[in-house]
């Protein structure tokens, strides 16, 4: 209804907007901000030629606090990352150990193996954040999926698993660094 007789005061008109804006901004500032947690890539990329079967990393591995060996991820948890992908039946090319991606929840490092034709053939996780139970749970579920998706896509263009977006950012950043350093 239009009440012409009583004009609301300026304060009454402005107050709700100011109050709600303050509450809104306060709320937003309390939210997670993965954007500010930049994924920093540290260390250099090490390539191992196939003749030497052992994998060496030029990076000194961080103190092993992990209860589960990182490689177990691919062996025990991944349903099918080891299944051969067409055109990449043998991973007989270079094995490349990527830089350590340092992000919000810890460090993530990948090793990628290629075929002789330099097609991405297999990805294993060298290390991942495992200090918190939650990190362990999320990563053990998501990383095998990322491994498989990366091999299937042959690139770092993979979809994020819900709830594991931060790991996805670190993973894709790390894998992209490997792929950039090892052009097909």
């Amino acid at each position: 209804m239009v009440d012409v007789s009583q004009k609301p005061t300026l304060g009454r008109q402005i107050f709700p907007a100011v109050a709600l804006t303050v509450v809104g901004v306060g709320f937003i500032s309390q939210l997670d901000n993965p954007g500010s947690d930049v994924v920093a890539l540290e260390g250099v990329i090490g390539t191992t030629v196939p003749s030497t079967s052992e994998t060496t990393s030029t990076l000194a591995p961080s103190p092993a606090t992990s209860v589960i060996s990182p490689n177990e991820i691919t062996t025990t948890l991944a349903p099918s990352p080891m299944t051969p992908v067409e055109g990449a039946s043998t991973c007989d090319g270079d094995a490349v150990t990527g830089p350590t991606a340092v992000f919000k929840w810890g460090e993530l490092q990948l090793q990628a193996t290629f075929t002789k034709k330099n097609v991405l053939c297999n990805v294993t996780v060298v290390k991942y954040p495992n200090e918190k139970d939650k990190s362990l749970r999320i990563n053990q579920a998501a990383l095998p999926v990322y491994n498989q998706e990366a091999v299937e896509a042959g690139s770092a263009q993979i979809a994020a698993v819900s709830g594991a977006t931060d790991s996805w950012r670190a993973y894709t950043a790390g894998l992209q660094a490997i792929l950039d350093a090892h052009p097909a």
């Binding site: 009440d3 804006t21 954007g35």
Partner: protein
């Protein structure tokens, strides 16, 4: 002509008091919409939505899918607030404007939904191809089968509300299709929480989003459906039916529940008769006499199957009413003089409005009607006007037979009402007539804020 008259059991008849005013201001509405938009866009931006835009195609599409999805939800939430018919908003803006905004928000929601679907498919298609993306988004991913069904329902509801389809459907058919929107919205909620990274990854954002939706569900349940159930427990009865003109009757509803009711002339109710096969037909009827504890009078024209049933309704029929709604009441007038313009059945709300005016308003009534057989309440109008220092002009005949092309042009209006610019103009009638009056009155120098229109109900 039938006026509500006291029955033997009711010793004294009072006019109903005016419903309480809303304290909500335009700026409050703006603040709520602005703050919700701020939170939604801020949440998206805080979660990296803006930085992702310049990134790879996949990230850009994902980010856009998130933004359009959030905005789609926001439009849906705001649209549902309007459906609550909350008096906070209704008492200030009126139900017809709320429905209009609801329709606009529905259209905005459909556009955001289409964009959200397109961006999501584009984002998922980059690693997996479009076919796999569509497969994932319609079933493989958790809750996406449910969401896909919900989206289809929402799109059907939106399409059915477009004028072209809407005109081909009966009101009831359209209404029941429309009700399925509740299912559509509920079905698509799950994927926001499980798949939408804005909520899956951030507990605080998720709690806020869930709380917001639960609060709205509670509000809607009470304000819309709770009130509806209450109205069922307080039925009125038809106490008089009078033939007024060709196809036009006035119906008086009475009952003890009116002792505590509040309403004003110019307002309308949504009326249903509790008769087998008709209870679900909702009719918006305007009050055609000042509402009193003795009864509510509506003047009804037979122009559809459902309103036909009201023009010869049996005495004693139980009727439930929701309302009153509408803000075009005598409250919009202070001490100015008043010009009332009623077209066709729009004379009903004009009559109830006039009854609440005082001699200082010197009301002039313009009654536009297409034939003499359809004129109703003429004597009553003249009696009311005379007692209030006013007068009635009638303009009868089809448009083609009139001497002037536009009976509501500034020239014609000024000839009939020389002091028009000093008056508050109230108009009720068909939409085309309301628009013509608004044009003419503004051209004659009436400020926009002094022109008040209520949609012509029955």
């Amino acid at each position: 002509m039938s006026r509500p008259t006291p029955t033997s059991s009711e010793s004294q008849v009072h006019p109903l008091p005016a419903p309480r005013e809303s304290w909500v201001l335009d700026t409050d509405v703006g603040a709520v919409i602005g703050a919700l938009t701020l939170v939604v866009v801020g949440l998206w931006s805080r979660h990296g939505g803006v930085t992702a835009l310049g990134d790879s195609a996949a990230k850009t599409y994902t980010s856009l899918a998130q933004l359009t999805g959030l905005l789609c939800s926001e439009a849906g939430l705001l649209g549902l607030i309007l459906v609550t018919r909350t008096p906070l908003v209704e008492r200030r803006y009126g139900l017809d404007r709320m429905f209009n905004w609801h329709r606009l928000l529905g259209e905005a929601m459909a556009i955001f939904l289409a964009l959200h679907i397109a961006f999501s498919i584009a984002a998922w298609a980059i690693p997996n191809g479009a076919v796999n993306a569509i497969k994932s988004l319609t079933g493989k991913e958790p809750y996406m089968a449910l969401t896909a069904v919900g989206s289809v329902v929402i799109l059907i509801v939106t399409l059915s509300s477009l004028k072209w389809f809407r005109n081909k459907l009966s009101y009831e058919m359209w209404y029941f299709v429309h009700l399925t929107a509740y299912f559509g919205l509920a079905a698509s909620f799950s994927h926001q929480i499980v798949l939408g990274t804005d909520f899956a990854d951030d507990a605080l954002a998720r709690s806020f989003w869930v709380a917001l939706h639960l609060a709205l569900v509670a509000w809607l349940t009470w304000s819309r459906w709770g009130r509806f159930l209450v109205s069922i427990t307080r039925p009125l009865r038809v106490s008089a039916v009078t033939h007024e003109a060709e196809g036009i009757s006035s119906v008086v509803l009475s009952g003890t529940h009116l002792q505590k009711a509040k309403a004003q002339g110019g307002q309308f109710y949504v009326v249903r008769q509790l008769v087998k096969g008709r209870w679900w037909q909702a009719n918006p009827f305007s009050l055609s006499a000042q509402p009193t504890t003795a009864g509510l009078r509506f003047t009804v024209k037979a122009r559809g199957e459902s309103s036909n049933a009201f023009t010869n309704i049996a005495l004693g029929t139980r009727v439930i009413v929701e309302g009153p709604y509408g803000v075009c009441t005598p409250d919009v007038v202070n001490s100015e003089k008043v010009l009332l313009i009623g077209g066709g059945i729009g004379i009903g709300p004009i009559t109830s409005f006039l009854e609440q005016l005082a001699p200082k308003h010197e009301p002039i009534i313009l009654y536009r009607v297409s034939s003499e057989q359809e004129m109703s309440h003429v004597k009553e109008l003249e009696t009311l006007a005379t007692a209030r220092n006013g007068k009635v002009h009638t303009l009868v005949g089809h448009r083609a037979t009139l001497k002037v092309a536009d009976p509501f042009s500034a020239d014609v209006l000024l000839k009939a009402v020389p002091d028009l610019a000093q008056r508050v103009v109230i108009v009720a009638g068909p939409e085309s007539m309301v628009k013509a009056v608004q044009r003419g009155a503004r051209a004659a120098g009436v400020p926009v804020e002094n022109i008040h229109a209520e949609r012509a109900w029955w």
